[in-house]
């Protein structure tokens, strides 16, 4: 599956050097999905993120990390020690021919190795150099260390997640790395467009903390406009009514949870009417709900009392349906709402099969093909796809250093002996 030809990709003429850790993996993958020639540069012995689980058949092994597989496909891979001067020379040669460099080092670390933006753009002023860090290249936190949870905390996201009175929460599977990688790709291509027009490259300074302001947008605007602080409200939605009423979002059903919200607006009113009709077909709609005039229902002005009164019979009704039934009915009745799906149910969703979304990618050394999420967008001209699995450690050393950069086999072996690669 997959058109399997990177040369048809929209960005196929361009080369990317990817020196990122997990904070930037997705940036390189996105450019790779669009056909760019992405070279993942790892330290000798392999990237530390290869130790991140989950693992293929639950066997911890740097060549079996599903985390690595998931975010580093569509890349080739070489090893290189940037802390050795021979490594720096080799990197400079690669960078002279590259269009993008992606990196996640602590600000000024690469400059100390004479391998930073200032040094390497002397020979290649067209380079788009994307620096991805938790907080940005300058400022009081720029040298702070952070993993996903610190980014989620400092961006404010965690203050909005969890039950009041219990600790604020992050999403259990790290989110900020993916968010940051994809917004970094937007930054890279914005600078790329300018470069293609003017010949001028530049450094793109990505802050993960700033990216995550979008993820939980627009809660902070309540403070800006009205000095009101939005807070975590468990499984309720706040901020939709100027009376301060909160709406239930998650409802226990027969086999899990449903996401349903009493909304306003045209779609909300249609949904509310459709739900009452559905409840009525099972003799579960109380008279006051049947009599409700949804055309005059105004979500921005609704009171908590009115919401509570409506939610009680709805809650009772939902305990009688399954997730699958609910999904079928919301599609049929054109209602807003979805079941709370797990990864299992995502694979069962017929929409993905109908859109030919999944991609089987071969892993010859494991003797299997693995199923990957497919293209993030469908283009009428030019392709976006999954072309190749993630690289093994140093898999393309010979291909890139000898065949493309012109090193001899003897030189390559010398670099290997000196542990440069």
């Amino acid at each position: 599956m997959g058109s399997a030809n990177r040369n048809e990709g929209l960005l196929s003429p361009f080369r990317v050097l990817d020196l990122t850790d997990e904070l930037g993996f997705l940036c390189g993958k996105i450019l790779g999905d669009l056909g760019a020639d992405v070279i993942k540069i790892e330290r000798p012995g392999g990237d530390p993120a290869r130790r991140l689980g989950p693992f293929y058949k639950d066997e911890p092994d740097p060549e079996k990390s599903l985390y690595w597989f998931g975010f580093n496909n569509n890349k080739r891979g070489v090893t290189l020690d940037l802390e050795k001067s021979e490594g720096q020379k080799l990197f400079a040669r690669l960078a002279a021919k590259a269009d993008f460099v992606l990196e996640t080092f602590t600000p000024s670390f690469l400059d100390k190795l004479k391998s930073g933006y200032a040094a390497l753009t002397k020979n290649n002023p067209k380079l788009v150099w994307v620096s991805i860090t938790p907080f940005g290249q300058s400022g009081p936190y720029s040298k702070f260390h952070a993993s996903d949870i610190e980014i989620m905390a400092l961006s404010g996201c965690m203050s909005l997640t969890g039950d009041p009175g219990r600790p604020p929460l992050r999403v259990t599977f790290p989110q900020s790395y993916s968010w940051t990688g994809s917004y970094a790709a937007m930054g890279a291509l914005t600078a790329h467009y300018h470069r293609q027009n003017t010949g001028e490259g530049q450094q793109v300074d990505v802050s993960a903390q700033a990216v995550m302001l979008w993820a939980f947008s627009h809660a902070h605007v309540f403070w800006d406009l009205n000095r009101h602080v939005e807070k975590r409200a468990g499984s309720f939605m706040t901020g939709r009514s100027i009376t301060g009423a909160k709406m239930r979002v998650f409802w226990p059903c027969k086999d899990g949870y449903l996401n349903f919200i009493i909304y306003g607006g045209e779609a909300g009113r249609r949904t509310n009417q459709a739900l009452v009709d559905w409840m009525n077909s099972k003799n579960m709609a109380p008279e006051f709900l049947k009599q409700k005039d949804w055309k005059t229902f105004d979500i921005a002005k609704v009171t908590q009392e009115e919401i509570d009164r409506m939610e009680e019979p709805i809650a009772e009704f939902f305990t009688t349906v399954t997730k699958a039934e609910f999904f079928k009915e919301v599609v049929k009745r054109e209602m807003l709402g979805y079941p709370v799906a797990s990864v299992k149910e995502i694979f069962e969703d017929p929409q993905h099969a109908a859109r030919d979304f999944w991609r089987e990618i071969e892993h010859p050394e494991l003797g299997v093909s693995l199923t990957y999420p497919g293209p993030f967008a469908r283009f009428s001209n030019g392709a976006c796809d999954v072309w190749r699995r993630a690289p093994l450690i140093g898999e393309h050393n010979e291909e890139i250093y000898c065949d493309e950069l012109g090193l001899t086999k003897a030189e390559l072996n010398k670099l290997k002996r000196e542990k440069v690669i």
Binding site: E150, A153, A185, V206, L213, V331, P375, R378, N381
Partner: protein, 402 residues
């Protein structure tokens, strides 16, 4: 000169998924036209708080403001076919990029599908952003991101073990699709420049969201493992969580992913006796509930910022759980600066958000506040589109431009 100066973008779009793509292009100098109508203004204007001073008004929405700075705002009542359809085509012919996030099929039904628009602009780039994609059995099912975030698995992964899923505040997945949508348009612009070819781009917000979950999707297919919510726990770190601090509902997160970081934390805590039994990662993992309690009993004596700074200096990853009243004053965000304060005639001073990536040679906006409803009708239709005075007035009188 800003990076995207000269690019002309038109939005047949409302709420977040379409317009925020346009915002990101406008931040870098693109001319972006947001199309609404008096019959149906953008939903963020019409019924999404916050409104300034809690007073509802079409030009008082903070959320609309956040998503639409630096745009021109015009009205076009698409229900007035065929005159409105012809005018819409004229606008598309003027544009390089059309962004739409109607329910799939709507643009075609209005006579404004990609094929129709390509007739008037052969190398047009058009992005259709929808919940579930333009094809497939569920294509026509409309929805909001706050709920799609559940179908796409995110809320299942959020919450305390055994408890209810938790909401991710707003239309979480919309802003994932925004990143991919902008990436797709930028790639298509570059492609058009090199090949002369336009593009029709179909993004399903659902499919863009799943990109973020690739490892756990693989884990299910390979190992049969269904990823579950587990509060703040992390398989590779302990302690790893939010710890209480001095003050009302104040918290600081701490994460320890190596023995060195653990030693640094123990030193910062002034070597409490209880720390000895947690010397190894396995011991910290096995006794994580107790460990959390003990660390929390220590952190409660500190202000969150003081704690974060002490721990960062000591080599331990830590971060204040910023509240919504803290972010505008966060020293780091302030230093970028992440917001530009602009005056709005009805809202007053408003913090307009800059991109999360700064281009060092072509600095991004915002430069202009979000537009009022229909603010640029005359400027756009007359000056940019070139309608004659009589023609314009006729369209206004017929409530096509309305």
């Amino acid at each position: 000169m800003q990076s995207l100066k000269g690019i002309k973008v038109v939005e047949f779009a409302a709420f977040a998924a379409g317009p925020v793509v346009g915002k990101h292009l406008a931040d870098h100098g693109a001319t972006v036209v947001h199309i609404e109508s008096q019959v149906r203004p953008d939903g963020f204007r019409a019924h999404y708080p916050p409104y300034k001073d809690n007073v509802h008004g079409l030009n008082r929405s903070g959320l609309f403001a956040l998503c639409n700075n630096d745009k021109l705002d015009i009205t076009l009542n698409l229900k007035k076919a065929p005159a409105a359809t012809e005018l819409a085509k004229k606008i598309a012919a003027w544009a390089d990029v059309v962004i739409e996030n109607f329910s799939p099929g709507t643009m075609a039904r209005l006579g404004l599908g990609y094929e129709a628009l390509q007739q008037v602009k052969p190398d047009l780039i058009m992005l259709s952003s929808s919940n579930l994609g333009q094809s497939g059995p569920h294509a026509h099912h409309a929805g909001f991101g706050s709920q799609l975030s559940s179908l796409a698995g995110f809320t299942h992964l959020t919450g305390y073990p055994g408890g209810s899923p938790q909401i991710l505040y707003g239309p979480y997945i919309d802003y994932i699709a925004v990143a991919y949508g902008a990436v797709a348009i930028l790639a298509a612009l570059d492609y058009r420049k090199r090949t002369g070819k336009g593009n029709y781009i179909d993004t399903a917000q659902y499919e863009t969201g799943l990109q973020y979950l690739a490892p756990i999707l693989l884990d299910y297919k390979v190992n049969g493992c269904v990823a579950e919510r587990n509060a703040n726990r992390d398989p590779q770190a302990a302690p790893h969580g939010a710890y209480p601090c001095k003050g009302d509902d104040r918290w600081c997160v701490i994460s320890v992913s190596s023995d060195d970081e653990w030693k640094a934390l123990v030193k910062a805590m002034k070597n409490p006796a209880w720390a000895k039994k947690f010397a190894s990662f396995d011991a910290r993992k096995a006794g994580e509930d107790e460990l959390d309690r003990l660390v929390g009993a220590w952190t409660i004596h500190f202000e969150p910022r003081e704690l974060m700074e002490t721990l960062q200096k000591a080599g331990v990853k830590a971060g204040v759980v910023n509240r919504m009243c803290d972010v505008y004053d966060d020293p780091q965000l302030k230093s970028r600066p992440q917001w530009i304060e602009l005056e709005h005639p009805e809202i007053g001073a408003m913090h307009y958000q800059r991109p999360p990536f700064l281009l060092t040679k072509t600095p991004p906006g915002p430069a202009k506040r979000d537009p009022l409803l229909a603010e640029h009708n005359e400027y756009f239709y007359r000056e940019l589109l070139g309608l004659g005075e009589a023609e314009y007035q006729k369209l206004v009188d017929e409530q096509v431009i309305f």
